[in-house]
């Protein structure tokens, strides 16, 4: 029946002036075109991501130091076993999680405050310029930020200690003092990334339906009621994404620390990415450092999975609402 009705259906559509659907050949062309666009990205991804990752995974089962004369020796899980007992590395990892939690918390709270202030000041002249300036730290490379902060914090000729002395205090050795170095790095990282969280907050606030805000105003809801019942429910996905992106990024912090403190004093600011860098590119212990990199990769994958889960959650919610 369908085979007999189909031609008549096409004929009737033609009579009605409705164009017939594209023939299968056209669809095939479209598919090829899509693949044509996709292939360069895939090739790049495979060459630059997949193969090196697999290579790294393989290397993690070898005893291989670049500067030794011997060939790589297959040692199975030995690198991982050694990793499990490596106290300094676990200490670095613990320090990294502490840094991550503190940095993300500070940046989220202060970023939210700054973002809200900008949102409420949309009629203030110069807002755009202020926004541009606010985002400057975020677009600087961590290397340059680390360098000029190190110079500014220098106890001998740093400008910050100049002001410290002006107010009658003793110079502070921010980057080499055992108790101050870690907070100093934390402050600089926050200086760099609070703007990002402010931006996410602005985006979140922008996603709140105007009608709901107006309704809340008509209902005379207090600030906290509006925040809890209107703003957070509508903007939370964007804020959570911001938090997750920062979490993943902070976990990888290396260049800022390397420039500011070189992991010191002692090992007080040695985050896990700095430790990995030393193992791989100072000691050239490629097998062992690959094992550590694999471990960090899995941690990063776990964090990314949360990110993807949140994204999917939002899609599912939107689908349900629709």
């Amino acid at each position: 029946m369908s085979s007999s009705s189909a031609p008549s259906s096409v004929a009737s559509r033609l009579e009605e002036g409705i164009p017939a659907p594209a023939p299968p050949r056209a669809k095939s062309k479209k598919t090829w075109w899509s693949w044509g666009l996709l292939v360069p990205v895939l090739v790049f991804f495979i060459l630059m991501n997949v193969i090196p990752t697999i290579w790294m995974l393989g290397l993690s089962f070898y005893n291989y130091t670049l500067t030794s004369a011997g060939d790589p020796q297959f040692i199975g899980m030995d690198n991982y076993t050694q990793l499990a007992g490596a106290g300094p590395l676990w200490l670095s990892l613990g320090r990294t999680f502490t840094f991550m939690v503190l940095a993300v918390a500070i940046q989220t709270v202060l970023g939210a405050v700054v973002g809200y202030l900008f949102w409420k000041s949309n009629k203030v002249p110069g807002r755009r310029l202020a926004l541009t300036l606010l985002f400057t730290p975020m677009i600087l490379t961590p290397l340059s930020s680390g360098l000029f902060w190190r110079l500014m914090l220098d106890p001998v000729f740093g400008v910050i200690n100049y002001f410290v002395e002006l107010v009658g205090l003793e110079k502070i050795d921010f980057t080499t003092d055992a108790t101050l170095a870690f907070p100093a790095v934390l402050v600089v990282d926050s200086w760099m990334w609070i703007p990002f969280m402010a931006l996410m907050t602005l985006a979140a606030l922008g996603s709140v339906p105007k009608a709901e805000l107006e309704a809340a105003q008509v209902d005379n809801l207090s600030f906290w009621q509006r925040l809890v019942h209107v703003i957070i429910p509508a903007g939370k996905f964007i804020i959570i994404l911001g938090i997750l992106l920062r979490t993943i990024d902070v976990f990888k912090t290396m260049d800022l620390v390397y420039l500011m403190t070189n992991g010191g004093p002692g090992d007080r600011t040695e985050l896990i990415a700095v430790a990995l860098y030393r193992l791989a590119f100072k000691s050239f212990n490629l097998g062992y450092s690959s094992a550590l990199a694999v471990l960090l990769l899995f941690i990063a994958i776990a964090l990314t999975s949360i990110y993807l889960f949140v994204l999917n959650l939002r899609s599912r919610r939107e689908a349900e609402n629709a």
Binding site: I54, W55, L66, P88, P155, T175, G266, F284, F298
Partner: protein
């Protein structure tokens, strides 16, 4: 997914089995480095020579160019150097003279000198991966003496002995065995030479001569201590550390922004270690056993702990930033008039004055006096000094093609010509390392030559490990030692014990020693 990835990773092991520098380090057909022994073809070249001289076989690339074999050719050439270390930049400044020499002597054109540079701590990272891939990007390299093992064991550099056997004129008599042991030999004590001395270096102290000669200072010192203030080199050559510190203390005035002295405590590269070693060596301390490659029980000695306490205790005479001080800080503090003295590498003597120094600074070499390191009471009660060796050798890339190899040898022949050394030493801040160079009267006016040669005397300085594991070992102790200086490690004994245990572990894992580290070393942290 994890299991699948692991399976794929394991599958890649077949590919990895062929990734060593030894197997695929050199694949070019005309690459003289292609050999079975890990890429280094110098042995093959020597075998080709079969004991012959260059007169018998002038085509051997390690002979350098002959009158005919390079005629009319154009060669691209490059070297690697240590950024921020002026003596290693000199070859670039002197390169036009070599270009003329090559053209006139051998008839070939050589390109402007390409170079890559990185600071001490990073240069090895720059050159090691390129050499591991069999690259001849850097035909000649200025490297630190600690890297000889890491560069020679994988076969990345040419054995200098092979060049010397073919070119005896390059085998120049050194000022002392320190030159050979530091810049040339690996493994220690083997007599096998890999490097060609480029810039020799020893440690000394720069003092404000103008302050010492100030009658007001002399009178005040006499009043304060009842002693005369020493002012001449001769008076300082054998001065004891405690007597020297009395003078340092006299000039120390932190409230006036002037400090008694400055030493290096930075975590960067080997800065802390090299500044500390003289305190340990001179009082009878050792850092390892080079014959057995054992560290534990040697580095973590009471003598070394006392030496470190003394070394770090000198912070009382230094700026608050003492724990981050490096070579550049020594130069700045001294030339800007903020420190009476600076313990410094003598190879940077040319930079210990600055014509543009502010008032009170060191604008002229006449204002300072360079002396050897002060002496300590040695283990046998005598005044004793053993400093750390600095300086760098040249090494030749094994992966050079024949023409580049010839140019490398030609360059070294030119570099060691007396007239070239004159330009290097008199115009570019170099120092002599050969017996002949040290006796050259033309160099006598160099204000830091005397202490340099004194410290280069037999037994007055010593270098440390040349093993491929040097980088790992150094990172461990720099972190621990610096940790003690900054207060994150409780005691000098703890810093030394931690370092000794970790270094023993590194050497044990690398198969350099049969003595295992103490139990629990792997999990041990600095806290």
């Amino acid at each position: 997914m994890v299991a699948a990835l692991a399976a794929v990773g394991l599958a890649s092991t077949a590919v990895l089995a062929g990734c060593s520098s030894g197997d695929d380090g050199a694949s070019g057909t005309d690459d003289p480095a292609a050999s079975d022994d890990g890429g280094n073809d110098s042995e093959n070249l020597n075998e080709d020579g079969g004991g012959e001289t260059c007169a018998d076989n002038p085509e051997n690339p390690l002979c350098g160019s002959s009158d005919t074999n390079m005629q009319g050719k154009s060669i691209e050439f490059g070297y690697s150097r240590i950024g921020g270390w002026p003596p290693s930049s000199a070859p670039e400044a002197m390169w036009p003279a070599f270009q003329s020499y090559a053209k006139e002597t051998y008839g070939y054109d050589v390109s402007d000198l390409a170079f890559a540079e990185a600071p001490f701590g990073e240069l090895f990272q720059k050159i090691a991966p390129t050499l591991a891939s069999g690259s001849n990007e850097f035909n000649l390299m200025i490297v630190d003496s600690q890297w000889l093992g890491a560069l020679s064991e994988p076969g990345w550099i040419v054995k200098a002995d092979d060049v010397f056997s073919l070119n005896p004129e390059l085998d120049i008599e050194p000022y002392s065995s320190l030159v050979t042991n530091t810049y040339q030999v690996y493994p220690d004590g083997s007599g096998q030479r890999w490097g060609f001395p480029q810039m020799p270096d020893t440690q000394g102290v720069f003092l404000r001569k103008d302050w010492l000669e100030d009658p007001a200072n002399q009178a005040a010192f006499k009043d304060a201590t009842g002693k005369d203030l020493p002012t001449t080199y001769e008076e300082y050559e054998n001065i004891l550390m405690d007597d020297f510190l009395e003078i340092v203390d006299f000039f120390n005035d932190p409230s006036g922004g002037v400090y008694g002295t400055a030493l290096m405590y930075s975590k960067e590269y080997d800065f802390f270690s090299c500044a500390y070693y003289p305190f340990a060596y001179s009082t009878g301390g050792e850092i390892w056993n080079p014959e057995t490659n054992d560290v534990y029980g040697i580095l973590n000695s009471e003598v070394n702990a006392a030496a470190m306490e003394k070394f770090v205790g000198l912070q009382d005479y230094q700026p608050e930033t003492f724990a981050t001080q490096g070579i550049g800080d020594m130069i700045d503090l001294f030339t800007q008039g903020r420190a009476f003295s600076a313990f410094q590498w003598l190879a940077v003597g040319a930079f210990m004055h600055n014509p543009e120094a502010p008032e009170g600074g060191v604008a002229s070499p006449d204002q300072y006096l360079a002396i050897p390191l002060p002496k300590f009471e040695g283990p046998d009660g005598d005044a004793n000094i053993i400093g750390a060796m600095g300086g760098q050798p040249w090494v030749i890339n094994s992966f050079n093609d024949d023409d580049q190899m010839r140019v490398s040898v030609d360059f070294l022949k030119w570099w060691y010509l007396p007239e070239t050394q004159d330009v290097f030493i008199l115009d570019n801040g170099g120092l002599p390392w050969s017996k002949e160079g040290a006796a050259n009267p033309a160099y006598a006016d160099i204000p830091y030559l005397k202490p340099f040669l004194y410290m280069l005397g037999e037994g007055r300085s010593q270098d440390f490990w040349h093993l491929p594991e040097y980088s790992e070992m150094l990172a461990v102790q720099q972190e621990a030692f610096n940790g003690y200086a900054t207060g994150t490690v409780s005691s000098a004994a703890e810093a030394l014990d931690y370092s000794a245990a970790k270094q023993q572990e590194i050497l044990f894992n690398a198969g350099r020693t049969t003595v295992a580290p103490p139990e629990g070393t792997a999990g041990r942290t600095l806290q």
